[in-house]
Symmetry: C2
Subunit: 338 residues, 2 copies
DNA sequence: GCCGCGCCGGAAAGCCCTTGCCTTGCCGGG
DNA sequence: CCCGGCAAGGCAAGGGCTTTCCGGCGCGGC
C-alpha cells in the first residue's frame, strides 16, 4: 500500500503538506504544490490508512451495533433506521450479530471498545439473567466512563440511553382485541422465556385478559425459538394439546406467519375457526393470506431514535424514550366461533 | 481510555512485558509479573486499541462486505452465509449497504481499503454501465495489487474470485415450467433493467420460451424497483395493460409476494386464473398463500462460498464458481386455464 | 535600507502498540 | 574460579498519520 510518505516523496513535498492537502486543512497551501500532491495521490491510488488516522486524531467516527441477527426481519428493519441516521451523519457502522448468545454480546462490547467506536448501540431483547446483565452493564459503564456513548433498544435497566418499544402496551392491545372478539380459548406461541421482550408482551396480554376475567394458564403458552421453525413447532404442540382453541397469539410475526401456514396445512380456516394474531408488523404481515392482524411497532423509528440519541450530545441523565404500539386489524382475526 | 503504558506502570513492568502477557506471547514471563499485569488489566478495564495493534502488526483480520441492503431478505440470507464463515475463522465483518447506488459502492471500496481489510466481498447484481464497471474494477485491482483479496457474488467480469448464482439457468427453469403448464400469455414483473441479474434471468426465460416457439415482447415486461412496492406497481400496470395474462413471472420473490397480494385484492384466483412464479426462494416463499412456486438459489451457500474464497489462499487464477438453481414447485403455478 | 509581519512549508513530536535485539543475572560445567 | 549459555525483562524502533511549532522568505511600511 502506498503511504503518505510515498505521496509526499513523489510530489516533492513534506508529509505535512501532503496531509494538509489531502484533508483539506484550513492551512493554506500554494496551488502548485496542491496540484502536485493531488496528482501523486491519483497516480499511487493512495488511500489514507484509517487506523493510523484514528491513532493520530482524537476524533472517533465509527459506531458499533450489536443485534441478535441482521437477517431476522425485525432487526433488518431496526438496522435500516440505524443505518439511515448513521449515513446522514457520515458515520460508518460495524454490525455484529450476537445470535442471541449473551457471551457473544459481551465479547462484542469489548471488541467494539477496542475499535474505539464513538458509540455502541445494543438492539434487541434483554435477558432474565442478573449475572449476565450486571456483567454487561459493568462493561458498558467502563466504556461510558471513557467517553463512549451507549444506546440500547428494548432493554430495561441498562447503562446508557434507551429506546423502548411498548411491548407491554402491545400485549394489552392484543388482549383487548381478543376480548372484544369474544375469544376465551386462547393459546400463545411465545419466544424464549428468558427474553424480557417475551415476558413483557405476555405481561400486557395477561393484564388485558384479566380485565375481562380471563386467566392465561402457563400450559397454554409454548416457548420456542423466536423464528419460523420455532413458531411451527410451538403451534403444532399447542393445537394438539388444546384442540378447542379459538385464538392463537404469536409473540412475533415470524411465528405468526408459520402458525398461519400450519393451520392452512391442517385445513383449519383462519379466522373462521381459529384467529391468529401477530406482533411487530413486519413488512410481510400485510402480504400473507389472510393478512395478519398484528401490533405495529415502529421498527425503523426505533433504530432512528436510538442512533440519534447515540450520536447526539451526551445528556447528563440517561434518556429513555418509549415508542408506541398500535393495533393493526387485518384479516387473520375474527369473532370467536359460536 | 487506559493504555498499555498505564497497565505497565500500574503493574510495575515495561510495556513490552505487559504486551507479552496480554497477547500470550511465546516469550516466557515469570508468574508473578504475569499476575501483576493481569490484575492491572482487570483493574483498569484495559482493552487494547485495535487500531494501534493493526498498525503495529502486519496481520489484517477484518473483512469488508458491500451489499445492496442487508435488510432485503436476499442479502440477509447471503450475509448469513458470509457471517458464518467469517465467525468460524475469527474474522470481524464490516457490512456496508450501497442501496444500489453505484457511487456509494465505489466509495465503500475506498473506505474499506482505508480500513486495511483483509478482503472485500461485493455481493449483488452488477450494472450495465461500462464506465462504472471499469472504475470499480480499477479500484478493486488497485486493492488487489497490494495484497487485498476480492470476491464478488453475482457479478460478471470483475476483478477477483467470483461466485455466480445460475440466473440464466433459473430463467430457463421458469420458462420450461411455463411451457409445460401450457401458458402462452405471459407477463414479467422485473427489477431495474440496469441490473445484470435482471437481464440474465430474462435471457434464460426468453431462451426457454423460444424453445417452445414463444417470444416475450418487451411491452410485456415491466421494470420497477426490485422490492415489494415495485412489484405491486409493476403487477398492476401489467394486469391493466394485458387483462388476458395467464401467468406472471416475478424476477424475485419480494415482487412475487406482492403480486400475489395484489391478485388476491382484485379477487383473481391463483393459480386458477393466473399463475405466479417467483425467483430466489426466500424463506417467506413457503409461507405465503398460495405457497410460491419459485426458483431456489442457494443464498446462504453463495455467501459461504464467497467468504471461503476470499479467506482462502490467493489463487493465481481468479476462480469462478457457479451454484445451481433449482425449480421448486409449490402451489402458485398451475396449468393455463383453457 | 531595514525591520517586522504574514504566509507557507517542513521538522518532529506524538497517538498506542508490537517485537527484534540487547542487557542483566543466574546457573552449571570445565 | 571463570566463562558460556540461557532465561527473563526492557529499550527502542518502527507502523502511518496529524498537528504544533518553528523557520525562511518576500513584501510593505517607515
Amino acid at each position: 500500500m502506498a503511504t503518505l510518505a510515498d505521496v509526499a516523496r513523489r510530489a516533492g513535498v513534506s508529509p505535512a503538506t501532503a496531509s494538509r492537502v489531502i484533508n483539506g486543512s484550513s492551512k493554506p497551501v500554494a496551488d502548485e504544490l496542491r496540484e502536485r500532491v493531488l496528482r501523486a495521490v491519483a497516480d499511487l491510488r493512495y488511500v489514507p490508512n484509517a487506523h493510523a488516522q484514528l491513532l493520530a486524531r482524537p476524533q472517533r467516527s465509527v459506531v458499533g451495533v450489536i443485534v441478535h441477527d441482521v437477517s431476522d426481519p425485525y432487526f433488518a428493519e431496526v438496522t435500516r433506521g440505524l443505518q439511515q441516521v448513521a449515513t446522514e451523519r457520515g458515520r460508518l457502522l460495524i454490525i455484529c450479530n450476537s445470535y442471541r448468545d449473551p457471551d457473544r454480546e459481551l465479547e462484542y462490547v469489548e471488541l467494539l471498545r477496542g475499535q474505539q467506536v464513538a458509540a455502541i448501540v445494543l438492539a434487541g431483547s434483554g435477558y432474565h439473567d442478573a449475572g449476565f446483565t450486571s456483567r454487561l452493564n459493568e462493561k458498558l459503564a467502563a466504556y461510558g466512563a471513557t467517553g463512549g456513548r451507549v444506546a440500547v433498544i428494548g432493554r430495561h435497566d441498562h447503562f446508557g440511553d434507551a429506546v423502548m418499544p411498548a411491548n407491554v402496551t402491545g400485549g394489552e392491545l392484543i388482549g383487548g382485541e381478543l376480548l372484544r372478539l369474544g375469544h376465551r380459548e386462547i393459546g400463545v406461541v411465545a419466544g424464549p422465556r428468558v427474553l424480557t421482550t417475551v415476558t413483557d408482551r405476555l405481561t400486557g396480554l395477561r393484564r388485558a385478559l384479566a380485565g375481562g376475567g380471563l386467566t392465561l394458564p402457563e400450559e397454554r403458552i409454548r416457548y420456542a425459538d423466536f423464528d419460523r421453525e420455532g413458531g411451527a413447532r410451538a403451534t403444532a404442540d399447542l393445537l394438539d394439546a388444546f384442540p378447542g382453541l379459538t385464538a392463537i397469539v404469536a409473540l412475533n410475526d415470524s411465528m405468526a406467519v408459520s402458525a398461519l401456514a400450519l393451520l392452512r396445512a391442517r385445513g383449519t380456516r383462519v379466522p373462521g375457526e381459529v384467529s391468529v394474531l401477530g406482533f411487530d408488523d413486519m413488512p410481510i404481515a400485510a402480504d400473507v393470506t389472510p393478512a395478519l392482524t398484528t401490533v405495529r411497532l415502529p421498527l425503523v423509528d426505533l433504530g432512528v431514535r436510538a442512533m440519534t440519541l447515540a450520536l447526539g450530545p451526551a445528556g447528563g441523565q440517561p434518556r429513555v424514550e418509549t415508542l408506541p404500539a398500535e393495533l393493526v386489524r387485518r384479516d387473520s382475526a375474527g369473532p370467536a366461533p359460536a
